[in-house]
Subunit: 208 residues, 2 copies
DNA sequence: GTCTATACTACGATAGAC
DNA sequence: GTCTATCGTAGTATAGAC
């Protein structure tokens, strides 16, 4: 489908070169169509950009959906141990998604929007990031009810942020692990360590 | 000084718009000079880009230097508690730097290079990131000698990565904290929570 | 709906005045 | 060292054929 080919190419190009740097000619060429198709289907470069943001949000949401349903069903009645287990499931799933090659282009797009938010950030935030963070907050409220709300939010952000280096600092991760890319071995070590970190943070036996 | 004005403007523009998206005309205008000064001083757009990367690496290194010296002096003989204290000092300093407004432009530049590394990444990595991670590794080796080297590297990366959301996910952090920017109150909560997280991870009383 | 052709603007590099 | 002027290339948008 032409529109979907254009959206995929748009995410790659906007992610790599930014809104200004990307060229509608190149996006059209990668989608094997003429540049003016973009005007026709999306109204222009800006319309394509916003549609690309929504395309990303939709796909991220779809990947989260099974886990979200599972959590919404059980969060209200979960014990401390169950809440911790669900939090581990979220961060591990997040790491899995961020480690998988197909999210590379999405990530580049989202990171640009974080650094300099436009209308597109709003769509990605509300469509993908906010639901995920709300889930994390819900589970933190059950597993660490003694913390005050501001600290729970800080904790949610830091938990959510921890796996981000796997994608956003990819070049550094590879260099430090002495590997050209993150294969099964490297991924396993990173995810295992991430899991232990999350567990430590949630049980908080430090003198915190 | 003209060269330094050009470098500062270059970091801002390359960070915002990427290498292709940034315009040498705009950089020259922001530096109140003619575009051909860039050719004269840096040989062209690419030369300016690499010089900007080195400028960033140098400034990051300078900010780390006092802490680095303190750690190099004491790391070899540090007790477990001292090593943990120095690690807390590193991540807290990192958070402080990432929260400060002046690193906004650097961050945008570095993040672009992480996502799509060029020769400029090499200069930033060797000049700024690698020294910092080596310090973290040194201290982890002293505070958690029982871990095998691969896991120590994974731990160093995740510890190093945890504060990154403060800068890279700034738009999300602000939205979740319900604040337009990160003032003293928000920064204090985040840094305090970060400190507790690092402490938990290093003492590892989870079942990990 | 998708194409080609074209109008207009902005880019980087460079030559040459001072 | 810094400027202005100019060249060739590439960008977006749009009109109109089919």
């Amino acid at each position: 489908m032409l529109q979907s080919r254009l959206l995929d190419a748009a995410i790659v190009h906007f992610g790599l070169y930014g809104f200004e740097g990307a060229s509608t000619r190149a996006i059209a060429k990668a989608s094997e169509t003429a540049m003016s198709s973009i005007t026709y289907h999306f109204g222009g470069k800006e319309g394509l950009y916003l549609a690309a943001a929504e395309h990303i949000a939709r796909q991220v949401r779809e990947r989260l959906e099974p886990l979200r349903q599972r959590i919404e069903e059980s969060a209200a009645t979960a014990t401390h141990a169950e809440a911790v287990e669900l939090l581990l499931a979220i961060t591990d799933r997040q790491a899995e998604v961020l480690l998988s090659p197909e999210t590379e282009a999405w990530s580049r797009f989202i990171v640009r929007e974080q650094q300099q938010p436009t209308e597109a950030f709003e769509r990605i935030f509300q469509g993908a990031l906010e639901p995920m963070i709300e889930l994390i907050l819900l589970l933190i409220a059950r597993s660490r009810p003694e913390l005050d709300p501001a600290e729970r939010r800080a904790m949610a952000l830091l938990l959510f942020g921890q796996p981000l280096i796997l994608r956003i600092g990819r070049a550094t991760v590879c260099r430090v692990l002495g590997s050209d890319d993150l294969g099964a071995r490297e991924s396993a070590v990173l995810r295992s360590r991430l899991r232990k970190n999350v567990l430590c943070i949630l049980s908080e036996n430090g003198d915190g």
